[in-house]
Amino acid sequence: MSKRAVVAMSGGVDSSVAAALLVEAGHDVTGIMLKLWSDDGANSNSGCCNVGAADDARRVADVLDIPFYCLNMAEHFERTVVRDFHAAYSEGRTPNPCVRCNQWVKFDALLERARALGADILATGHYARVDQYGGRWRLRRGVDPSKDQSYVLWMLTQDKLRQCAFPVGDLHKTETRAIAERLGLRTAAKPDSQEICFVRDGDFGSYAREHIPAAARPGRIVDSTGRTLGTHEGIGRYTVGQRRGLGVSLGMPVFVTGIDAAENILRVGPKEELRVGTAILDEVSFTGAVPNAAERVLVQCRAHGDVFAARLRPDAHRLILDFEEPPDALAPGQSAVLFSGPAGDEVVGGGIVASTIPVGVEGPLVPALADQ
């Protein structure tokens, strides 16, 4: 059945092919690019919505003979994703702007526009799969493990999933490129974007100095006993679990174990101090029904990271994860994404890590929460 589809086009090969596949399947397709920042603040070559990318996307739309529009969501993006990015680093957390963009822009503001345009489907070039299974919409990992992007889609609910399509989720990246070449799309050989789209040239240091001064002030590096070991370059440069770039030598590997934004202090320690026994998540969302207490899930703590088994304790707004296999590190601000299913590839939901409790520490917070 022919449906009306809006494809979020970035000017990259994945969304180009997503649009092409929907056109080939006979749908009525419209391409939309989002302009997410004002021109002078943009990343010149990488990222997704600079002028060159818009030209590429428009050219692909012309070749596919579909309408193409560029929507200006720069103010919305600034108010939501960029503001959150700055706040998180100022408070010693590690944000994931791609998650936030999906949460507040692509699958919220854009989905709303697509619905207003009468679209049945909002498609993107994400490597993930959505299908109907057992009377509900199911979100699964993309078939290409090296490209799987289900991690950044945990916020999709049944109401959103029913209108989502990820046409390249069934493909390996090499197949995606082959399709683009077959169709003569000019984006076929474009490199993957890696960097944060609004951080110019991927230079986080100068970005932080300009936009997040609170996270760019040098301060003390201390160990778990409070002893000063050195000086850091600003808390925005560090993530819990990070080993490189500390400039501290203790005769053993040293990792960031905590960031105290109020005191502008970076805490470091040996690997053992990192292991997370329990994590508390905020802004929790589930793709389907809320799972049962004590249900066992697999938790992915970063994009393309390993998964760790945990049992979950749902709460009104929060979720507590008791790890059976403690992850090495879990940075506050990052997304923890829950998977289950026979193949462990179904997204149950996820949330933003609010805080963690190391292995072996009885957190006073945990029972108090459970009693609420």
Binding site: K35, D39, N50, R58, Y69, L71, E112, A116, L117
Partner: protein, 362 residues
């Protein structure tokens, strides 16, 4: 145009006979354009469009006069060809100020007087605004500017005026004026700059010295010939076209008002070219409306497209004091030679549904 494109490949700058034919065609076009705007042929310089003409006027006149002044004033709702050229000048050390525009979309004479100082090199006010269609009292503006500072140059971007209102650069008293062919149904990529006899501008493009050194580069002969014909035709049709378009526009506005009662017209309806209607539709976002209307086969505009094609709220509407949110929800309808009553009916039919849907978006 077809003749010079298919049979006559001569370069008008050449000495040989093929070149002479091309040169004749260009000079005939120059006479036609000059006639349409009330200039002498020697005051008309062909360019690659209105934007280039504006740039030569603003930057070329300012560089020529730098020694005798240090200030340029442009109205706040100019086309970006003028605004951005002026803002470039400010990077070179000249002071650039903007002349405010009244809420009805007209530049007041008092504002011009106030903006013009002894150190002012150039004042630029467009003859007809491209987004809200308001017609400026250019003759009075020139008097006001020169009254404040006798040596000041006055430029007018008349791209939207030619073909819509009578243009007479000498009656207006301007020193410089920019025109574009495609706004009159002529070919795209060709325009003209009027430079009053006795006024000098610095060239921006240097080379073979074509157009008496004001704009070097091989002439776009076919485009120029088309421009000449279009200018001559457009001038003859002004009155009949205006009468027809005013009728269509009244029908459009009436239809829109009956379907969407809270619609607000941006700018005065009193002094406005016949083919323009610009309305705010409260509670909507212009981008979403444009997409919905495009789906329904109606082409209109909202704000200004940036390089990527996304829209920013119109600087013109912001300049006349329209609140940002209202400017975002504004649409510009342009009626032209080919617009018909059926087209207007189609818009009136399509818009209410589009507005209903657009209002669902927060």
């Amino acid at each position: 145009m077809l003749d010079v494109l298919s049979d006559n490949h001569g370069n008008p700058s050449s000495v040989h006979s093929f070149g002479r034919k091309a040169r004749e065609a260009v000079e005939e076009a120059r006479e036609r354009v000059a006639g349409a705007v009330g200039a002498s042929p020697s005051e008309i310089f062909f360019t690659a469009g209105g934007t280039e003409a504006d740039n030569i006027a603003i930057k070329g006149a300012a560089s020529k006069r730098r020694g005798s002044g240090s200030h340029v004033a442009v109205s706040a709702f100019e086309h970006h060809a003028v605004l951005d050229a002026a803002s470039w000048l400010s990077k070179t050390g000249l002071e650039v100020t903007t002349i405010p525009v009244e809420a009805d979309g007209i530049v007041s004479l008092g504002a011009v007087t106030e903006a013009t100082r002894p150190s002012t090199i150039l004042v630029a006010v467009m003859a007809v605004n491209n987004e809200i269609g308001t017609i400026q009292p250019i003759r009075e503006i020139v008097v006001a500017a020169k009254g404040a500072s006798p040596d000041v140059l006055v430029h007018t971007d008349a791209v939207q005026a030619l073909g819509n209102i009578p243009v007479d650069v000498h009656r207006w008293g301007v020193d410089l004026a920019a025109f574009s062919a495609h706004k009159l149904g002529g070919p795209k990529g060709v325009g003209a700059l009027f430079v009053r006899s006795g006024v000098a501008v610095e060239a921006l493009v240097h080379g073979g010295g074509q157009e008496r050194g004001v704009r070097s580069g091989t002439l776009n002969v076919a485009g120029i010939v088309g421009f000449g014909v279009a200018a001559q035709l457009a001038e003859k049709e002004i009155d009949s076209k205006a009468e027809r378009l005013e009728g269509l526009r009244a029908h459009l506005l009436e239809g829109l008002r009956s379907e969407i009662p809270d619609i607000v017209v941006n700018g005065t309806m009193e002094r406005r070219v016949a083919g323009n209607l610009n309305v705010a539709i409260p509670g909507t976002d212009g981008e979403t409306l444009l997409l919905l209307l495009d789906q329904a086969g109606v082409a209109c505009s909202s704000g200004a497209a940036c390089a990527s094609g996304a829209l920013d709220p119109s600087h013109v509407l912001l300049a006349i004091g329209t609140p940002r949110e209202v400017a975002r929800g504004s649409l510009r309808f342009s009626l032209g030679r080919d617009s018909s009553a059926e087209d207007v009916d189609a818009v009136v039919k399509a818009l209410p549904e589009a507005v209903k849907r657009a209002r669902l978006v927060s």
